[in-house]
């Protein structure tokens, strides 16, 4: 390691920016390293709206979970939960019902461990290490089977994570597989990077995307139609469909927030059998 941070033991790679740590920093979190912050500053310089996109995403996550709890959903599978940063799903869900179940899943073992220590003492919120590209290993994980009642609706959250899954890894197939064991009334929650509205914006966005090529998690940008196509027939889109994050059932209080075209979101409900 070229640089010593004293409190960082061997084994954590602080030379390569990590998507979850970058996201944490973008939201104002402190669980990040210099390399992540520097990466974010470069991304922001190229694509000044990046911070707002991250924030719009996170705000949508909060609204989505509140909306779902209002509709009686009490089980949440948050895949790609990242660093336990501001506005966690369990905080929102358990505000509505202290016994709401939340299972966090992340591919990064350190994020998983941090979530674990954060969740100590919370019997209904847990975390496992898992890879979205292997949905069965998540669905049939012992802890998941233990925590969830699959005869009741489950909300599967893939927030700001599907754009890290290339077409070759069959994101539609992954969502189909995740949806299969769920009862009707279950939901899929998706947020995904979309193309910017203007040619200049798209050019800037493309440069930022190229920046992500250097991280372990390159990004795929998909249009609203492409995002909609990822959702299978077993699910129907909830109004207002695939829209900008800031346009999905906005909180009247947030009406003044700037619209973010590149954060596409949707919630879909599993049809009645």
């Amino acid at each position: 390691m070229a640089e010593s941070y004293g409190w960082v033991p061997e084994g954590v790679d602080i030379e390569v920016p990590d998507a979850s740590r970058v996201y944490d920093y973008a939201l104002g979190g402190v669980h990040n390293f210099a390399v992540d912050r520097e990466f974010w500053h470069r991304a922001e310089k190229i694509f000044p709206d990046a911070r707002l996109v991250a924030r719009a995403n996170r705000a949508f996550l909060g609204r989505a979970v509140r909306w779902l709890t209002a509709r009686g959903v009490r089980q949440f599978l948050d895949i790609g939960s990242g660093i336990p940063t501001l506005g966690n799903v369990h905080e929102v869900a358990q505000e509505a019902d202290p016994e709401a179940r939340v299972m966090y899943v992340d591919i990064d073992p350190i994020a998983v461990q941090q979530s674990r220590s954060l969740l100590t003492g919370n019997p209904y919120a847990r975390v496992i290490e898992g890879d979205l590209r292997e949905p069965d290993s998540i669905l049939y994980h012992r802890d998941v089977l233990d925590l969830f009642d699959f005869s009741e609706p489950v909300a599967v959250l893939t927030v700001a994570v599907l754009h890290f899954v290339p077409g070759a890894a069959d994101p539609a197939g992954i969502l189909r597989r995740l949806g299969e064991p769920l009862v009707s009334g279950s939901h899929l929650v998706i947020s995904h990077l979309g193309p910017d509205a203007t040619p200049e914006g798209r050019a800037a966005q493309e440069r930022a995307r190229q920046l992500y090529e250097k991280t372990p998690t390159p990004v795929v940008i998909r249009t609203a139609e492409q995002v909609a196509a990822l959702i299978g027939d077993e699910f129907e889109l909830v109004e207002p469909g695939v829209v900008r994050a800031t346009d999905w059932r906005p909180d009247p209080d947030e009406a003044g927030d700037p619209s973010q075209p590149t954060a596409l979101v949707a919630i879909a409900r599993k049809r009645d059998a």
């Binding site: 409190w7 960082v8 033991p9 061997e10 084994g11 954590v12 939201l27 104002g28 979190g29 402190v30 669980h31 991250a54 924030r55 996170r58 705000a59 909060g62 509140r66 501001l86 506005g87 905080e91 929102v92 073992p109 350190i110 998983v112 461990q113 941090q114 674990r116 220590s117 954060l118 909180d251 209080d253 947030e254 003044g256 927030d257």
Partner: protein
């Protein structure tokens, strides 16, 4: 208060622009409104104390309104617009600035605490993660260390561990050795060998707890046995399972397996003994070629004894612990002493009685020590015999010695050095099929003038016809012939036939006067046995 509400809205807007605000906006607004009221209350408090500013700053961080621009927005807003809302006098302005001063400190301190806590947290998480990675590695390593890479079965170390951890009751350990596995891999290559092993493992799987302690060795651990029969059944089943051909890459491979078995109570058994004893039993199975061999403590003890003797023997030879006893050979017609048979004895230090030959000669034959030992004893006998004029000195020769190309020269040399006339030396050679292969050696010995006697005649392999071509002068009849009157006719014929072939006949093992009388009557020439004289260090009476 509408002014305060408006100020709260502006504050929230500023905070929301500065960074992500978790939760519902309305709640954030209510929280900021509360803070603002606290702030105003502090401005108006008498006597004035700026301390609450610190708490309000920390509270902002707690509400996760912790982005750096939040503090700028807050100071700017409250310093600039609060006086207009609550009283635009110099004292109020001073108090507001003092509170903002503390608020900034509180915000920054809380922000720093949060960052340090996060650092500790990430550090601890990483450490825990790292420890679990190490544990995983250790587990994998242990898996690798305790299992065979080819079949994935527990290896010898693992098996030993399992055996050491046995709790109680009776247990059976079955070792299956594949015959000539090495040859197979030499011919077919290691890949096919490994595939064969995998196939063998698959076939044995139904038998229970399997292990694979060596390439050509599989083990089955059978717990809660009630006796050896339980294990023998498993062994039979195993051998049946391995009997069919193994198709490997278009080859149809046949495997011959041997089974060594140990079955006994766990209590009182040395855990290391299981595998050792099973290997021993497996060796017996290979040697005897008679199906599964069950470990037998008596046989094992006998083998251990032989091994101890074999190890002691070279030193004993150097120390001169091997001596000879002499047993009289008498002419049956008149009881006259015509010679002696020299019998090897091993006087081990600490033993009261010397060991008789049947307890160590075979061991010496197996280790090859019989050659120097035989030479030494022959020389001793000849030297002694030279001092006993007129007597025949009969010395045993092992078939192993016959194989020694230097034998004839050694005998000639010894005769020369001891001065014993060749005609007074008789070499006794046990009748075995092997002897017949050394026709030329026997001829050369005969040519030296030495008498050759065929020992234990009648128990072995030679037909009378074979004897005609060999230079034997004497046949020594096995003691077995002397038992039972019904053999008398056979005995008479044999003695007659020997005489026809020009052989004199000595009967061994004569223990009674009656036997002596019968043999004399049948025309047997010489006799030997306890009745005619026991072996002794010298000659006791003539």
């Amino acid at each position: 208060m509408t002014d305060l509400a408006e100020l709260t809205d502006d504050w929230l807007r500023g905070v929301a622009e500065a960074g992500f605000v978790p939760g519902v906006r309305a709640r954030a607004r209510a929280a900021l409104h509360d803070l603002l009221e606290e702030f105003v209350a502090a401005v108006r408090a008498e006597p004035f104390d700026p301390a609450p500013g610190h708490r309000i700053g920390a509270e902002l961080v707690d509400l996760r309104m912790s982005a750096p621009p939040v503090i700028g927005t807050t100071v700017h807003l409250l310093a600039g617009r609060l006086p207009a809302a609550i009283g635009d006098d110099a004292e109020t302005r001073t108090r507001i600035l003092a509170l903002l001063d503390r608020l900034t400190t509180g915000f920054v301190a809380a922000q720093r605490d949060a960052a340090v806590r996060a650092a500790e947290d990430i550090n601890r998480s990483e450490k825990i993660h790292w420890r679990s990675v190490q544990l995983d590695l250790q587990r994998q390593l242990q898996q690798a260390v305790l299992h065979r890479p080819d079949t994935g079965l527990p290896n010898e170390q693992h098996l030993r561990k399992s055996l050491a951890e046995l709790a109680g009751g009776r247990v059976g350990l079955l070792l299956l050795g594949l015959d000539r596995y090495d040859e197979l891999t030499d011919v077919l290559g290691h890949d096919k060998g490994a595939r064969l092993l995998t196939a063998v493992a698959r076939r044995l799987r139904p038998l229970g707890v399997l292990a694979h302690p060596a390439d050509d060795l599989f083990a089955v651990l059978v717990t809660a046995t009630t006796g050896p029969d339980d294990l023998i059944k498993v062994a039979d089943q195993a051998l049946r399972l391995l009997a069919g051909p193994f198709p490997v890459d278009g080859h149809s491979l046949h495997v011959t397996a041997f089974a060594g078995l140990v079955e006994r109570p766990v209590r009182g058994t040395d855990p290391d003994g299981w595998l050792h004893d099973a290997r021993l039993a497996l060796r017996w199975a290979r040697q005897d070629q008679r199906g599964p061999a069950l470990f037998d403590p008596a046989r094992a003890e006998e083998e251990r004894r032989r091994h101890r003797l074999a190890a002691e023997m070279p030193g004993a030879l150097e120390r001169g612990e091997f001596t000879l006893h002499y047993q009289p050979l008498r002419r049956l017609a008149d009881g006259h002493l015509i010679g002696v048979e020299a019998l090897a004895r091993w006087q081990r230090p600490g033993d009261r009685e010397p060991l008789p030959p049947h307890q160590f000669i075979q061991v010496a034959e197996r280790t090859g020590l019989i050659r120097p030992l035989g030479r030494r004893l022959l020389e001793q006998a000849c030297r002694q015999g030279a001092a006993w004029p007129g007597l025949l000195i009969s010395v045993n020769l092992s078939p192993v010695q016959l194989r020694d190309p230097g034998l004839v020269a050694d005998v000639a040399d010894i005769l020369h050095r001891t001065g014993l006339p060749a005609a007074r030396l008789q070499l006794e050679i046990t009748e075995t099929a092997e002897v017949l292969r050394y026709r030329s050696v026997l001829g050369a010995l005969g040519a030296l003038g030495v008498r050759l006697a065929l020992d234990d005649f009648g128990t072995g392999y030679s037909s009378l016809a074979v004897l005609t071509g060999l230079p034997f002068a004497e046949a020594k009849l096995a003691a077995e012939f002397l038992v039972g009157a019904e053999r008398r006719g056979v005995l008479r014929h044999i003695i007659g036939a020997c005489h026809e072939l020009g052989l004199t006949v000595t009967a061994e093992g004569i223990e009674t006067a009656e036997q002596e009388a019968v043999l004399r009557e049948l025309g047997c020439d010489h006799g030997q046995g306890y009745h005619l004289g026991r072996p002794a260090a010298g000659i006791v009476g003539r």
